[in-house]
Assembly symmetry: C2
Homo-oligomer: 85 residues x 2
Protein backbone atom coordinates (compact mmCIF):
# COMPACT_ATOMS: atom_id res chain seq x y z
CA UNK A 1 0.00 0.00 0.00
CA UNK A 2 1.40 3.41 -0.94
CA UNK A 3 1.56 6.28 1.51
CA UNK A 4 -1.34 8.13 -0.09
CA UNK A 5 -3.60 5.19 0.69
CA UNK A 6 -2.30 5.26 4.27
CA UNK A 7 -3.39 8.93 4.51
CA UNK A 8 -6.78 7.87 3.14
CA UNK A 9 -7.04 5.06 5.69
CA UNK A 10 -6.27 7.49 8.53
CA UNK A 11 -8.85 9.96 7.17
CA UNK A 12 -11.53 7.31 6.71
CA UNK A 13 -10.56 5.65 9.98
CA UNK A 14 -11.09 8.93 11.88
CA UNK A 15 -14.55 9.29 10.30
CA UNK A 16 -15.40 5.66 11.13
CA UNK A 17 -14.17 5.94 14.73
CA UNK A 18 -16.06 9.23 15.16
CA UNK A 19 -19.40 7.41 14.89
CA UNK A 20 -18.63 5.14 17.87
CA UNK A 21 -18.93 7.75 20.69
CA UNK A 22 -22.05 9.13 18.96
CA UNK A 23 -23.68 5.69 18.83
CA UNK A 24 -22.63 5.04 22.44
CA UNK A 25 -24.16 8.35 23.57
CA UNK A 26 -27.53 7.76 21.91
CA UNK A 27 -27.89 4.24 23.33
CA UNK A 28 -26.75 5.41 26.78
CA UNK A 29 -29.19 8.36 26.83
CA UNK A 30 -31.88 6.24 25.14
CA UNK A 31 -32.75 9.42 23.29
CA UNK A 32 -32.19 10.61 19.72
CA UNK A 33 -34.57 13.55 19.59
CA UNK A 34 -31.83 15.97 18.50
CA UNK A 35 -30.57 13.75 15.69
CA UNK A 36 -31.97 14.79 12.32
CA UNK A 37 -33.40 11.88 10.33
CA UNK A 38 -32.54 13.56 6.98
CA UNK A 39 -28.95 13.94 8.30
CA UNK A 40 -28.67 10.19 8.91
CA UNK A 41 -30.31 9.17 5.61
CA UNK A 42 -28.26 11.62 3.52
CA UNK A 43 -25.10 10.45 5.31
CA UNK A 44 -25.94 6.84 4.40
CA UNK A 45 -26.63 7.83 0.77
CA UNK A 46 -23.34 9.76 0.59
CA UNK A 47 -21.38 6.91 2.19
CA UNK A 48 -22.79 4.41 -0.32
CA UNK A 49 -21.89 6.78 -3.17
CA UNK A 50 -18.31 7.14 -1.79
CA UNK A 51 -18.14 3.35 -1.68
CA UNK A 52 -19.13 3.26 -5.37
CA UNK A 53 -16.55 6.01 -6.10
CA UNK A 54 -13.88 3.99 -4.30
CA UNK A 55 -14.77 0.88 -6.29
CA UNK A 56 -14.70 2.58 -9.72
CA UNK A 57 -11.37 4.31 -8.95
CA UNK A 58 -9.91 1.32 -7.04
CA UNK A 59 -9.19 3.44 -3.96
CA UNK A 60 -8.77 0.82 -1.24
CA UNK A 61 -8.89 3.30 1.66
CA UNK A 62 -12.17 4.75 0.39
CA UNK A 63 -13.69 1.29 -0.07
CA UNK A 64 -12.69 -0.19 3.30
CA UNK A 65 -13.59 2.79 5.47
CA UNK A 66 -16.92 3.41 3.76
CA UNK A 67 -18.01 -0.18 4.35
CA UNK A 68 -17.48 0.44 8.09
CA UNK A 69 -19.18 3.86 7.86
CA UNK A 70 -22.26 2.33 6.22
CA UNK A 71 -22.61 -0.12 9.11
CA UNK A 72 -22.02 2.55 11.77
CA UNK A 73 -24.44 5.13 10.34
CA UNK A 74 -27.03 2.33 10.11
CA UNK A 75 -26.71 1.93 13.88
CA UNK A 76 -27.43 5.67 14.28
CA UNK A 77 -30.48 5.29 12.01
CA UNK A 78 -31.58 2.38 14.22
CA UNK A 79 -31.13 4.54 17.34
CA UNK A 80 -33.13 7.33 15.70
CA UNK A 81 -35.94 4.89 14.81
CA UNK A 82 -35.95 3.46 18.36
CA UNK A 83 -35.42 6.60 20.47
CA UNK A 84 -36.08 9.53 18.12
CA UNK A 85 -39.80 9.87 18.89
CA UNK B 1 -14.53 16.72 -15.44
CA UNK B 2 -14.78 12.96 -15.97
CA UNK B 3 -17.79 10.95 -14.85
CA UNK B 4 -15.94 9.41 -11.89
CA UNK B 5 -15.41 12.88 -10.44
CA UNK B 6 -19.13 13.54 -10.97
CA UNK B 7 -19.89 10.43 -8.84
CA UNK B 8 -17.48 11.79 -6.22
CA UNK B 9 -19.17 15.20 -6.29
CA UNK B 10 -22.58 13.57 -5.78
CA UNK B 11 -21.19 11.47 -2.91
CA UNK B 12 -19.47 14.40 -1.23
CA UNK B 13 -22.42 16.67 -1.99
CA UNK B 14 -24.80 14.27 -0.21
CA UNK B 15 -22.50 14.25 2.85
CA UNK B 16 -22.24 18.07 2.77
CA UNK B 17 -26.00 18.56 2.37
CA UNK B 18 -26.65 16.05 5.19
CA UNK B 19 -25.13 18.41 7.76
CA UNK B 20 -27.62 21.20 6.94
CA UNK B 21 -30.77 19.65 8.51
CA UNK B 22 -28.64 18.56 11.51
CA UNK B 23 -27.33 22.11 12.04
CA UNK B 24 -30.84 23.48 11.56
CA UNK B 25 -32.25 21.07 14.13
CA UNK B 26 -29.68 21.91 16.82
CA UNK B 27 -30.14 25.68 16.42
CA UNK B 28 -33.93 25.32 16.35
CA UNK B 29 -34.02 23.14 19.49
CA UNK B 30 -31.24 25.22 21.09
CA UNK B 31 -30.00 21.92 22.47
CA UNK B 32 -27.06 19.67 21.59
CA UNK B 33 -26.99 17.42 24.65
CA UNK B 34 -27.22 14.24 22.55
CA UNK B 35 -24.40 15.24 20.19
CA UNK B 36 -21.11 13.61 21.16
CA UNK B 37 -18.21 16.10 21.29
CA UNK B 38 -15.67 13.37 20.33
CA UNK B 39 -17.93 12.61 17.32
CA UNK B 40 -17.72 16.19 16.09
CA UNK B 41 -13.97 16.59 16.70
CA UNK B 42 -13.10 13.24 15.10
CA UNK B 43 -15.33 14.13 12.13
CA UNK B 44 -13.45 17.42 11.71
CA UNK B 45 -10.09 15.62 11.93
CA UNK B 46 -11.20 13.03 9.37
CA UNK B 47 -12.57 15.70 7.03
CA UNK B 48 -9.28 17.63 7.15
CA UNK B 49 -7.38 14.40 6.43
CA UNK B 50 -9.70 13.66 3.44
CA UNK B 51 -8.98 17.19 2.23
CA UNK B 52 -5.24 16.44 2.42
CA UNK B 53 -5.84 13.09 0.65
CA UNK B 54 -7.77 14.87 -2.10
CA UNK B 55 -4.97 17.41 -2.53
CA UNK B 56 -2.16 14.83 -2.77
CA UNK B 57 -4.12 12.68 -5.25
CA UNK B 58 -5.63 15.70 -7.12
CA UNK B 59 -9.18 14.44 -6.59
CA UNK B 60 -11.27 17.56 -7.21
CA UNK B 61 -14.51 16.09 -5.84
CA UNK B 62 -12.79 15.13 -2.58
CA UNK B 63 -11.19 18.56 -2.23
CA UNK B 64 -14.28 20.67 -2.93
CA UNK B 65 -16.75 18.72 -0.83
CA UNK B 66 -14.42 18.40 2.15
CA UNK B 67 -13.88 22.16 2.26
CA UNK B 68 -17.67 22.52 2.65
CA UNK B 69 -17.78 19.66 5.18
CA UNK B 70 -15.10 21.30 7.33
CA UNK B 71 -17.17 24.50 7.50
CA UNK B 72 -20.42 22.64 8.22
CA UNK B 73 -19.04 20.37 10.96
CA UNK B 74 -17.52 23.50 12.55
CA UNK B 75 -21.05 24.89 12.86
CA UNK B 76 -22.08 21.68 14.67
CA UNK B 77 -19.07 22.06 17.00
CA UNK B 78 -20.20 25.64 17.63
CA UNK B 79 -23.75 24.42 18.41
CA UNK B 80 -22.31 21.80 20.78
CA UNK B 81 -20.20 24.46 22.54
CA UNK B 82 -23.21 26.79 22.82
CA UNK B 83 -26.04 24.37 23.62
CA UNK B 84 -24.31 21.13 24.66
CA UNK B 85 -24.31 21.87 28.41
Amino acid sequence: MDWQQVIGLIAGGLISVSFIPQIWKLFKLKSAREISLPFTLLQLSGILMWLFYGIILSLSAVIVTNIFNAILISLIIYAKAKYGK
